[in-house]
Point group: C2
Chain length 256, copies 2
């Protein structure tokens, strides 16, 4: 029987409230995370307590938590509890950075801040971050460098744009003082947790300024990685454009 494009059966779809119980529980839990009821790194109530609180069985709560754990919103630890995922842990240091050295183990990268300024969001940025025309944005530019301490070579040039209102206190000084991943700063100081991202990857030729900063000839091929990061509720809260020098590193991806 071949598949002819038969029209989808007209379902009695009048009630969108036809959602499984565990999905409803999941929604409740997500809004709890969104509202800051449980903070990153903290434990949420036990399955049995949540079951009692919401008047469902423990297995139903379990299924809701299972899905959230699969989405990296929560982390389960047997015998200890279930915790709100955080960027403040070794395993999740660079959760979104797929750059890997061609040889050897992924090593720590050095950060070098180049710029941080407040400005009106450019049109394209405003569109992607769902900002109103002319609204404030913060732009950050920085380098990531690899190698031993006395032989550092730049591998990534990052440009970030963030919504001005949510990142009010973000200044050059604040960034200079910070030792650690940016997402950890955002989470700890600005209550913005990135949970998901989409990337568009291209090969481009290095412009003169970029080439100088990365130490490559003008026109050299670079990997352009445009990332849009989302927080709870699928709200885009960061636009990042990275230029990767892929001579001795590569972008690693796993397909399933």
């Amino acid at each position: 029987m071949s598949e002819t494009s038969s029209p989808p059966a007209a379902r009695a779809e009048s009630t969108p409230s036809f959602s499984p119980l565990y999905q409803q529980i999941k929604t409740l839990l997500v809004t709890g995370l969104e509202s800051g009821q449980w903070l990153p790194g903290q434990a949420i109530p036990s399955e049995t307590e949540l079951a009692a609180r919401y008047g469902v069985s423990q297995g139903t709560v379990r299924k809701a938590i299972d899905e959230m754990a699969a989405e990296n919103l929560l982390v389960r630890r047997q015998g200890k509890g279930t915790f709100v995922a955080t960027h403040a842990e070794a395993q999740t240091q660079y959760r979104f950075l797929r750059l890997t050295p061609d040889e050897g183990a992924p090593a720590m990268l050095q950060r070098r801040l180049l710029d941080c300024r407040r400005m009106r969001a450019p049109l394209e940025v405003a569109r992607l971050l769902a900002l109103k025309a002319g609204e404030a944005a913060v732009q950050v530019r920085r380098l990531l460098l690899a190698g031993s301490n006395d032989d550092l070579k730049p591998v990534v040039l990052d440009d970030l744009w963030l919504p001005g209102t949510a990142f009010k206190g973000l200044t050059m000084e604040r960034l200079q003082a910070w030792r650690g991943p940016l997402y950890r700063l955002f989470e700890a100081e600005f209550a913005v947790r990135m949970i998901r991202a989409e990337e568009k990857i291209r090969a481009v030729a290095a412009a003169s300024e970029e080439a100088a900063l990365l130490g490559v000839p003008e026109g050299a091929p670079l990997l352009s990685v445009e990332r849009l990061s989302y927080t709870y509720g699928d709200r885009a809260v960061e636009l990042r454009r990275g230029l990767y020098h892929t001579a001795s590193h590569h972008y690693r991806n796993e397909l399933n």
Copy 2:
């Protein structure tokens, strides 16, 4: 089925290290797939039947199948059954191809076969595919083109290497005659199903031959995508190197 004196499941005691029942069931199912007991597109037995066959509860079988469905080994369809995943479906046409047009919906790509030859596997290929030195390999070269029928432009230049023994009958003629994705051919005619892949992505400058085939200037930046594809049992069975022209397309990735 409520037998009063049904024999309790003879559990394999003293397994090297403890493994949950559902994991053992999963192993049994995977080996069933690997051995060709159930073929791509076919339905496996129902949960209740598997539960009876293996002497475990239906919920335990369910958990095993859940994990395999999450790994894209199986596909569940409510009311119909659980099916062995296949590349022969519209949804999974280009399951590993992340190339997306910058504007508009992902469109069908045209295939143009350039070459297919048998040869001794080059050293690097032999290493990655776990072949013995000097063993036979098949190399395929082809173009993927996008655009309307009277205005096709090349966007991908693919070079593939396959183990010679597993792909004995793969010839230029055979490929010419085939209309459809390669992975579907491999699955249907050579009983090799790709279930997972790893990619290393770089930006490179187009060499003269590649530039000519893709219709770009020599030295133009291209995306180099080196893919190693695996079948059941984590055996690498395909090495593919793609050069993507990313002027009006990009490589799309989702990070979780």
